[in-house]
Amino acid sequence: MKAFAEKKVLLSNVGAIDPERIEDYLDRGGYEGLRAALKRSPAEVVGEIKESRLRGRGGAGFPTGLKWELVLKSRAKTRYVVCNADEGEPGTFKDRVLMEGDPHRLIEGMTICGYAVGAKRGFIYVRGEYALSIRRLERAISQARQRGLLGRKILGSDFSFDLEVRAGAGAYVCGEETALLESLEGKRGWPRIRPPFPVDYGFRGKPTVVNNVETLANVPEIMCRGAAWYRTLGTGDSPGTKLYPLSGALNRPRLVEAEMGVPLRTLIYDFGGGLPGGRELKGVLVGGAAGAFLAPEELDVPMDFKSLWEIGAGLGSGAVLVFDETACVIDVLWSVLSFFAHEACGQCTPCRVGTVILLSLLEKVQNGSGDPAVLEKMLKVTHLMKVASLCPLGQSVRLPVETALEKFRREFESHLKEGPCPQCKATTEVHA
């Protein structure tokens, strides 16, 4: 088996440079990717990204090159690039580290994207709570403008492009790309019906590339070092490196970068330093709140899109939340479900009502109502939400609920019979 070590590509500058000084970024080869891109035609740049097989890091894993190509080939003259920096997935802090630690990398990636797809304007929609990210991005943008790396006729070419930072107002659903676009347009952040997708009908109805921060941060590197180099990293299906935010019961919870396909076990026991105090691992929530619970027997799964998909989970944001034996699964799921109930936008019936039904059914489990039909009812609701909800928020709630029920069914049943366990006391006190 391949031995995995940490591999810093996206994080190579983080901590090594002063993020408020463009000189530091330039000294380390910054904006060379943009220079390389401007020497080639937009179609060639899109071709390079396609060849790299870079996949979107926001969770869905859509091929980035294909997305760009759809916008490049559009007949509309006005096009936009939007960076989804509304990082709200619980347990996820990778985009924040990139924006705070190396903001120019994102700006360079977006500018290359703008050149490739024929956009003149771009927006970075940053989670409002990320005050430092916003400040550093704004400073970096003005530095880039002063150096002719943004604005009119970039680096003496015919290409003009400018960026604006917009702050979100605290809604998880605005991380969904069409809700983000609505919010960017100044409207209520409610997801749109898709299709049409943003590549056809995006910001103000124009073709728009919406990419995650981490996705765009890969772009300068690919332009500098080539698609062939990029494909040597990671797996054939999911090339490149990935940022994995590790949190929970770990000795060293932190952000690590490693090649796609690194086994979950390596992330937890090598990079995360294992569990503290010799405690035993009970389960892992992979991909954030909209992710899947994995059992200890599943720790050898490679952390890439395809491998996780094959075991009924998903890579999501790459977040790894580790629970040890002192955590109660019902308790953890309760906090996941109250998150969704709080963040449901209210537009479609299945998600608006389904999230609160799930919460009330789970409370029946926790309080020991003794009715085993409760569990089947939960599955009925999650199934309905999966097939009938309007956007991915509602559709993905099934993942944590179904995997928790599948892998920890006995714990659900013992709660049903005996009521709250000593470990879920913390939760019951909160909502008593």
Partner: protein, 234 residues
Amino acid sequence: MITLKLDGQEVQARKGQTILEVAMENGIRIPTLCYLEGLSPKGTCRLCLVEVTNWNGKLVPACVTPVEEGLEVITRSERLDQIRRTILEMLFLERNHICSFCVSNGHCELQDLAVELGMDHVTFPYRYPGLDMDLSHEGFGLDHNRCVVCSRCIRACSEVEGAFTWGFQGRGVGTMVAIDLGVPWGLSETCTSCGKCVQACPTGALFEKGVATAAQLKSPEIIREVTERRPRVF
């Protein structure tokens, strides 16, 4: 012309039409709630979900999905009925729909749908929220307890009357229709008291003051009639 199949029956459609429009033209009934002829469709109540056989059985809202050549659509099946019943259950348990005390009893679209789809009881816990009423307007009343968050009042007000009085506030299960920026209806500076919102409302959430239980008759079709008689401006 586009040819597609609805429940196995071959039908003709024009480009740009939605599945729901084609179904209505061909006498096929698809249950709807947030849809109202004359208003822009929103696809949010999810009752009009239909199954597209050649998209792997994917469910799509008929009211906003444009027809395509060769589409094979199932509008009625045990699976769809079950899904629609569960969605109806959700609407009934979300707020307080106690028909026997409602001005719209017997003339309510939510109630009619329950009868049509055979939803005769709710299998999940009721929420029983204690919601306010707004009786500050001289002619109309608003009872949040009966609201199904369909946005028909909002669209009638903005798209047909052009007053933009109604909107939403809050989010998730706390989403509430609101007047202006959250003032009592009677203090609204934009409301023209035209009453289109009341006519568009499918339940007893909006009503005319002074009507007794089960006495509120509505004519939601006036929205279509009004819009048909004038050119669309957007």
